[in-house]
Structures are given as structure tokens and as C-alpha cells.
Amino acid sequence: MKFYKVPGKQMKFDELFRLLNFCKTIQTEGTDPFDLDVKKFLETLKQYHKKWKSLDDLLLDAEAIAELAKIIELQGKWIKDRSSSFYIDPVLLELKLKMLEPQQLATAFFKSWHPIISLDRITPQRLTEGLAYWDALLPLGERIDEFPFPSAVKSTFDIEDLIELNILSKTEFDDSIRAVLNELEVRGRIEYHDFIYGASFETSVKKAYLTSYLVNEGKAELDINPLEEEVFISPSYYTNVNAQAHHTQSRSIPISLSYEDWLQWMQKRNQE
């Protein structure tokens, strides 16, 4: 304690700044708030208290008290967290979670699960309300403002943008398209998903993207059988040979790809 008895002004500030920085480090780094000796901190402030003269001195004193209050609050929270029944060493739990099989994790969940019991039912009253709402609803043409067209042009990147941003090079993109076309020429007419899907979902999506360019440029054609819900793709020369004089109007065709669909396709392929 003798150390604090006759401090010079610079010494006072150094000591206080050091303590203030320590408080801030605890708050930002999340270290143990009990590393700070609160009692000693208060004694230090008490030693200096009578020597404060200027407004700056008092402001520094107030700041120190405010920081100390934050640390005490953190200490309270720290005790609350660790005394709660939920406190478990995160490292231990992480290790345990990594060791457990998915089956064991699922069993643990089911054994601690008390599902909510809730039913949905449409009542005659709700149906009447729905009908009244329908009757009051104006035709779509008169409510077009409620469904604005998305400003897609402003928010999407096309291939030119990507090339301009040096994310992709034109040669690289052309090579990728040529590789997909070569593969299609080798495989001939084939079911679209069988052609697109591959060993990983990521490459499948990439291939679908590149294939859309082939179809756009007329190098490949899609043949859709709506009844069987089948889509076939073939290189253009293949279709031309089979239906030379058959001119069809071009149109956009959305074909969905999903991770679940890809998984099913993989399972089916593995079974075969």
C-alpha cells in the first residue's frame, strides 16, 4: 500500500490508465473478470481521490468508476453462468459431441424432447371469412402494384460482369462450355438430370449453369415429355438429323435442381 502514498501526477495517471486498459481488455477479450482485484482498484482510487484538482482528473476518476462497475457486472454474470445447471466446460462438450455417432445424438435429443401438441383445423367460420376475403379482393390486374416485378437486372451478374470483374476469364468459361458440349456429344440423347448430376452437388449446379448456355446458344436442345415428367437433352446436330424440318418456337424452360433431388439421384445410381 505504501506505493500509493506519495504519487506524482504522471504516476497517478499511468497507474489509472493501466487499470482502465485492463478493464477494457477483460470486456473485449472475454477473459476471467476475477483477474481484476476490485478491492485493490477501489483502494487505489481512494488514495488519489483527495488529490484530484482539475476537471480532467475528476473525469478520469468517473471513467475509472464506470469501468469498474462494468467489471463487477461481468463478475456477477460469470458467477451466474457457472452456477447455472447449464454450465458445462465447452471444450469437454465439444469433444463429446465429436465422439458421438449421429444415432446417439439423435437418441439424446428424443429422450429430452417434449413435443408441443398443436393441431390445425379449418373451421366453418374461418371458411366464411376466407370467402368474404375472396369476394372483397380486386382482380389481379387492379392490384398489380402489390406484386412489383423484381429489379433483376440491377441485382444480378451476368457472365460479362464476372469477366469484367476478373472473377472469370473468357477463355476459362469457353473451355468449360466446350468440355460440357464434348461430353454431351459423346453421350448423345440423354435424360437431363442424368447428364447434369455428378459426384458432387456443387459440380452438378455448375454443369447445369454451363448447359443452360449450350441450350441458349442453340448447341443443345431440350425435349420435354410433360406426361412422363421427363426432360431429355441432346446435341443440336443429333436433333437436326432426327427432325430436320421441324421448327419450334424458342421459350424459357425452368428445370429445378435441389440438393434432395440430387441425393435421391445418387442413391438410385448407387443401387443400380
Binding site: Q103, W113, H114, L119, Y259
Partner: protein, 182 residues
């Protein structure tokens, strides 16, 4: 009809109404707020719920109070109860299959919840993604986390994940951690 009989009939009617309100979904999130029950059943709604609870108990169910701030409330805190959500849950844990979810998804959910709880209830989404991708492909992890958020098991705020309302209502978090550590 004497006064006692009349009061019994009135209570029975209120209990039936409370059961309908709690069993059938009225909002996107199941359950009913305390003030809604008060409006529908009267000032003695807490007593009515207590009677309903004793009936449900014989069927292995119970009415649970979930606060909006988090944590469960003990019965008796009537003032706070008006802001709380009342819902019916199964009293005993379900051992048999009671969900159409794939085992992988349940395993990921279980690990996610335990991980969040162990980190004092809030953790960056990226940390959870990295943790889960130790055992599952990243695409599936992203998809699963989005689903848990949509289902209400996990909440997301500023790229951080926290325990959602549905976990607070359905999962005995202490039991989950004990089972994982045992």
C-alpha cells in the same frame, strides 16, 4: 340448481374453452398468450389452466409457460404470465418415433443445441457451421441450420445463433446435456 353446482358448470365450460384455445393453433407459433386467455376465460384464467392441467396430467400432457425473454416460468407469477405463452406439451420424453425427420437432421439439431448451450446461449453461425461440417457436408449443414431457424428451434440475430422459442418449449436442455455427457 344451487350456487355450487352452477359454479362447477361454469368452470367446466371454461376448462373446455381453454383446451380448445390451447390445442388448436391460432397463430403462426403454437400456444396462446396469457392476456388472450385472460380475455377469453376471465381473471381467474390461471385457476382454469390449473384445472385443465390436472385433466391433462392423466393423459401424460401438461400446460407449459414460456416467456418471450427466455426461460420457463413457475406457476404463480400471474402478472408476468399475461405476457407469457401457454402451450401444451408431452410430459414424458418421447422414446418412440414421433417425427418424420431424418436421423441425420435430428443428430445435427441435437449437436447444434448442445453446442449453443455450452457457449452460454449465443454463438456465431459460422462456428456452428464449421463444427457440424466435421461430420456432414457443408451444403447439408447450411440447409439444416436454415430449417432449424424456420422451425423455431434456433434463432438468428446478426449472424449469431441462439436457442429458439421451440427449443425452450420442447427440449429439456439439462437432460440433453446430461445425456450427451453420460
Amino acid at each position: 340448481m344451487d350456487a355450487e353446482e352452477e359454479s362447477g358448470i361454469r368452470t367446466e365450460r371454461k376448462v373446455k374453452k381453454a383446451a380448445q384455445l390451447l390445442f388448436f393453433r391460432r397463430h403462426r407459433i403454437p400456444g396462446v398468450k396469457g392476456w388472450e386467455l385472460k380475455k377469453a376465460l376471465g381473471d381467474d384464467y390461471v385457476e382454469v389452466i390449473a384445472v385443465l392441467n390436472s385433466v391433462l396430467d392423466t393423459l401424460g400432457m401438461e400446460v407449459k409457460l414460456i416467456s418471450e425473454e427466455g426461460g420457463e416460468k413457475e406457476e404463480g407469477e400471474e402478472k408476468k404470465a399475461e405476457r407469457d405463452r401457454f402451450m401444451i406439451v408431452l410430459k414424458s420424453p418421447v422414446i418412440e418415433k414421433a417425427s418424420g425427420e431424418r436421423i441425420d437432421n435430428i443428430a445435427m439439431l441435437s449437436a447444434t443445441l448442445a453446442y449453443i448451450i455450452s457457449k452460454q446461449g449465443k454463438v456465431p453461425r459460422k462456428a456452428v457451421e464449421e463444427f457440424l461440417s466435421d461430420k456432414f457436408p457443408k451444403q447439408r449443414v447450411y440447409f439444416a441450420i436454415d430449417r432449424y431457424i424456420k422451425q423455431g428451434y434456433v434463432g438468428e440475430d446478426d449472424k449469431a445463433l441462439y436457442i429458439g422459442w421451440r427449443t425452450r418449449a420442447e427440449v429439456d436442455r439439462k437432460a440433453l446435456l446430461d445425456l450427451i455427457l453420460s
